[in-house]
């Protein structure tokens, strides 16, 4: 139905790699990316395309008195200038609650909120036209305090008030007391996903009045639904194809330019490309919720936990996004991977006029993890135990009870992970003259030759739920086709699950190869011509889409056996596939599959679900809400220049259980990347806001770790199969992000003796200036 597909779609992702499960074939796109030749969504091109641009609110909170587009329309080269009145469908969208306007109507609730769109022949023309749109704002006092927002204080920003969700958990005896009590207040700053490929895509108007959208996203079908609603089109007229994604980490779960480009395309009848620049990107996606956390741990004199009480506040900013689910995670995982007989947890997610926050790797578990692990160190000090020992004494294990009442029914090797990182050899102290300054705090900047440098060691362990929770119907759709092409047996796997850099395309090929014994496996472009693949988030794609692909392969295999039985007159029972051959248990090799198939094509599509979960009781927070739990532990070794407050993370070792490493190299990559992102949150990454405005919307001042900040890692990968999961796998992507931050901060505390209750730790926090 579309006019024509744009050039430079990332066909690179679909080429074949070698190896079955357990091997580590190279990514099909690896070399291209290293050489700078991979086609990202920002490289999309269409001959007669025009460019879209978004006019955004400069104010965190303001009433819009009027919008005048007259002058903008006069700029030569401008095709369209659109405002909320041009949105044909529902001018509200959102992942869980549709509360966010496609284009602001009479109020803006955050700095950067889209107000108008321009379509023009050149990005520069669009920019000039935007400057000529006159928006008359009545600036209002922004709501910025998350605790006020949670407790009904301050201006309500949405009809139902400023509370998005409150999750209480009541577990065990609520009146219990303990001999040893430690309390703490913690803060976590707003982290950004900092993906390198900015939001971008191309919308091509179709001849049927529909739209073809090529876009970098994490979830095609949830985009499709929201775009269709906003455009007032039936689902089948909104067709999405995944384009090259330059990182995601949660920041592409919400819509960015999808509806905007489509609106412009439908209005102008022309293909419309939109690419955010770095500045716009900081306003164009949600961030990690900043948090304020109050904790009290009660224990006996041996350090065994008696109770945990905590109150967690998460600032969701102007719109709900995935705040409700983030709140549930922070609450249900709020006491950490420990046996806690009694727990009182309350977590609030709120609306403010701060930048909208939503999904980011670790998703609520990160904020809680910083607090409960800081508390475990305090407890260790209070009872005079080693920090690892106090954790091991309380470590949860298979069969443990979560505060939600859910039994942990597969491996939970928390104590083992801690022992492993503890037992690793420690690095030597770098004090030999002349020192290599790159190994010192301050690195290349030549701030110390050893003066003021103190070493510290810290430990942490974390817990993360894998897959979607709370009764969500979480599934993926996979289609597998086997046929003979050019005399060679070939398999094709097709899903709508997004490859965002994590390596799903490699995993899918490995699964097909293993299940069907077919060497030549290709992956169809990810698009909405097939059913929902679910979100690339919650560490779930290898589990759910991997499960769907395996299941489709099993169905295909059954069909192949039936075909063989019919054609060869053998019994369909006791057959198997090996290296392209049909093998019988009794008679050995029966035939080449190529010959069995002939001109036949076996093509099967399945929907696959993991076991169901339940919602949480709204009063007690009880319920089997999660599918699976993942665990990782870190030991951080740091050198701190205590006079300048600068930190060098010397080592960041990790142990993690992954159930089964389908692609061991990819598993290591996830653990390294997740740990680096946690390091960023520990010592540098923060979107700083003031009165709702972002103070550092650029990579000049939003710092992410470089190779001189991230140390080499020694990683232990455990493979304790989860009997409920395909191949026994356990989601890998998020757990390392949770424990890395508290381990590093604990190490800085050990070096400095300071309380350090806020992440990221800034030099001023260490020097006290």
């Amino acid at each position: 139905m579309s006019k024509s597909a744009p050039v430079r779609t990332p066909t690179d992702l679909t080429s074949s790699v070698a190896g079955g499960i357990g091997a580590s074939p190279q990514r099909p796109d690896g070399n291209l990316k290293v050489r700078g030749e991979f086609a990202y969504a920002s490289d999309l091109w269409h001959e007669d395309m025009i460019w879209g641009a978004t006019l955004r609110s400069p104010h965190p909170y303001a009433r819009i008195r009027s919008i005048d587009i007259t002058e903008a329309l006069k700029v030569p080269g401008v095709y369209a200038v659109l405002t909320h009145s041009d949105v044909p469908g529902k001018n509200l969208y959102g992942l869980e609650h549709p509360d966010q306007p496609v284009l602001a109507v009479d109020v803006v609730r955050y700095q950067g909120e889209p107000v108008a769109l321009v379509g023009a022949d050149h990005p520069e023309t669009a920019r000039r036209a935007m400057e000529r749109i006159a928006v008359d704002y009545e600036v209002l006092e922004p709501v910025v305090d998350m605790e006020d927002a949670a407790h009904g204080r301050g201006t309500p920003l949405h009809p139902g008030g400023n509370l998005v969700r409150h999750v209480p958990i009541r577990h065990g005896d609520q009146q219990v007391t303990a001999e040893v009590v430690v309390t703490g207040e913690y803060e976590v700053g707003m982290q950004d996903q900092a993906f390198l490929g900015p939001e971008s895509g191309l919308a091509v108007p179709g001849e049927d009045g529909g739209i073809d959208l090529y876009v970098a996203t994490q979830w095609l079908h949830v985009d499709q639904k929201q775009v269709a609603q906003a455009l007032g089109l039936p689902l089948d007229k909104v067709r999405l194809t995944l384009s090259g994604v330059g990182g995601a980490f949660g920041g592409r779960e919400d819509l960015s330019m999808q509806v905007h480009a489509s609106l412009l395309a439908l209005h102008t009848g022309k293909p419309v490309k939109m690419v955010y620049n770095r500045l716009e990107s900081f306003y164009g996606h949600v961030h990690r919720h900043p948090a304020k956390l109050y904790y009290e741990h009660g224990a006996d004199r041996d350090g065994r936990l008696v109770y945990v009480k905590c109150r967690i506040y998460l600032d969701g900013g102007a719109y709900a996004s995935s705040t409700p689910a983030v709140v549930a995670n922070a609450a249900t995982l709020g006491v950490g991977p420990y046996d806690v007989p009694n727990a009182t947890v309350d977590c609030w997610g709120v609306y403010t006029n701060n930048p909208p926050c939503g999904a980011m790797r670790g998703f609520g578990a990160v904020q809680a993890g910083f607090a409960y692990e800081s508390q475990m160190d305090k407890l260790a000090a209070a009872v005079g135990l080693d920090p690892v020992e106090v954790r091991i004494r309380n470590a949860m294990h298979e069969g443990s009870l979560m505060p939600t009442g859910q039994v942990v029914d597969s491996a939970a090797p928390v104590a083992e992970l801690l022992r492993r990182v503890k037992d690793k050899p420690l690095p030597p102290v770098n004090r030999t003259e002349p020192v290599d300054i790159r190994e010192m705090p301050g690195g290349a900047s030549n701030t110390t030759h050893g003066e003021g440098v103190v070493r510290g060691i810290g430990y942490a362990v974390g817990i993360k739920n894998v897959c979607f929770s709370e009764g969500y119907d979480d599934f993926s759709t996979a289609r597998v086709r086997v046929q003979v092409i050019g005399g060679e047996l070939s398999a094709l796997a097709h899903t709508a699950a997004c490859e965002v850099g994590q390596g799903l395309v490699t995993i899918m090929q490995q699964i097909v190869r293993t299940e069907l014994g077919v060497e030549r496996v290709t992956i169809a472009p990810m698009d909405t011509t097939i059913g929902n693949g679910g979100s690339t988030s919650a560490s779930r794609q290898t589990y759910v889409t991997g499960g769907a692909v395996r299941s489709a392969c099993q169905t295909v295999r059954g069909r192949l056996f039936e075909l063989a039985a019919r054609k060869l007159g053998v019994d369909a029972v006791g057959l198997s596939l090996h290296g392209g051959k049909l093998v019988s248990d009794l008679h050995g090799v029966l035939a080449d599959l190529v010959d069995v198939l002939g001109d036949d094509v076996v093509d099967e599509t399945v929907e696959w679900r993991h076991r169901a979960t339940e919602s949480l009781d709204p009063v007690t927070g009880q319920g089997n809400a999660h599918v699976q739990y993942g665990f990782a532990a870190h030991r951080a070794v740091v050198d701190v220049d205590v006079e300048l407050g600068l930190v060098k993370v010397v080592e960041l070792d990790c142990a993690q259980d992954v159930g089964k490493a389908l692609n061991p190299e990819a598993v290591l990559g996830q653990i390294q990347g997740g740990s680096a992102q946690g390091l960023g949150l520990a010592v540098m990454e923060e979107i700083q806001t003031s009165g709702g405005k972002i103070r550092n919307p650029s990579f000049t001042d939003y710092l992410i770790p470089t190779v001189l900040d991230m140390p080499p890692m020694s990683i232990d990968v455990l493979e304790l199969a989860d009997p409920h999961a395909p191949y026994g796998i356990r989601g890998v992507g998020e757990p390392p992000t949770i424990s890395s931050t508290p381990a590093i901060v604990a190490a800085i505390r050990a070096a400095t003796g300071l309380a350090l209750t806020r992440a990221p730790v800034r030099p001023e926090h260490i020097t006290g200036t």
Binding site: G442, S445, N446, L644, N696, S698, T767, T769
Partner: protein, 297 residues
């Protein structure tokens, strides 16, 4: 937007005289960022990268003349022994990519208070050679920086080179950033020993509207060193002297609170940087001769 590509300096100066609004571009590591952020929309760019005169360095009388377009990587590789302070500052600039492109001329042209070469140029008494069709003049570094991102260039002038004496004694540069590489200075400090003049050059960066000499610190130290005859028979500096030097250096700053750090932190860190860099430079000075190393042992 025009892109003008002169092949000689004279040609470039003629263009600049005729069209003073054109924006020179050397490595482009500042200019391209400004264009990208839409902070600047010049009518024309004047490309200086094809001008051989700008990309050379050579001895000139007792000094070294370093062309404005010599990239950092060459200063590090080719001049590290003769201009150690400038080379140290160059090593801390950006990433390898930025050091391949970026130039001292560009650092001076941008005149950012956070530019890394500025404190070194001040501490080393560098002269900036600027030229126009009207002629050439030398501007002492101390008179070059006029305000935040403002320098002493006339609209028709271009920076031709910087002139510095080859180091006769140790120099040091140090900067604080909240990342261990590729970071803009939260504050920085340079020190250069000038035994032949019986004084020490000292300057702070990223802690005032312009890079600044730390004059009180310089004077204090000159007095301490000559009173105790330390230039002739060097001995380790007293802790109290290094500390006082640090305090005075910090007092030269007038820092602000911003997204990179607080004013109080900058003052504190400058005192530490000044104390440490002086210590390293002086220790090297003690260690440069047989007798000296004994006396400093």
């Amino acid at each position: 937007m025009d892109f003008l590509i002169p092949s000689t300096f004279a040609e470039a100066l003629a263009i600049k005289a005729e069209r003073p609004e054109v924006v020179p571009i050397a490595g482009g590591t500042d200019v391209m960022v400004e264009l990208n952020f839409d902070h600047r929309r010049p009518t024309a760019l004047l490309d200086l990268t094809r001008i051989a005169e700008l990309t050379e360095w050579a001895p000139s009388e007792n000094l070294l003349r370093v062309g404005a377009g010599v990239p950092y990587v060459r200063i590090i590789d080719e001049l590290g022994d003769r201009l150690p302070g400038l080379a140290m500052a160059s090593r801390t600039v950006g990433s390898p990519q930025i050091r391949n492109r970026g130039t001292v001329g560009g650092n001076l042209g941008a005149a950012s208070p956070a530019g890394d070469t500025h404190p070194v140029l001040l501490a080393c008494d560098a002269q900036v050679e600027v030229a126009s069709v009207r002629g050439t003049r030398m501007i002492p570094a101390a008179e070059f920086y006029l305000g935040v991102k403002r320098n002493a260039l006339e609209p028709d002038e271009l920076i031709a080179a910087v002139h510095l004496a080859p180091a006769a004694a140790p120099q040091q540069f140090s900067k604080v950033g909240t990342r261990n590489a590729m970071v803009i200075a939260v504050c920085s400090f340079a020190v250069a020993l000038h035994p032949e003049q019986g004084r020490v050059g000292a300057a702070v960066g990223s802690a005032a509207p312009t890079p600044r000499r730390a004059l009180a610190a310089e004077e204090f130290l000159a007095g301490e060193l000559s009173d105790a005859g330390l230039w002739e028979s060097p001995k380790p500096l007293l802790d109290s002297v290094r500390r006082r030097f640090g305090e005075l250096a910090a007092e030269a700053a007038s820092p602000i609170d911003d997204v990179r750090g607080t004013a109080a932190y900058r003052r504190h860190a400058l005192a530490v940087l000044a104390r440490r860099t002086l210590g390293w430079a002086w220790q090297d000075y003690c260690g440069t001769g047989e007798t000296r190393s004994q006396s400093c042992a």
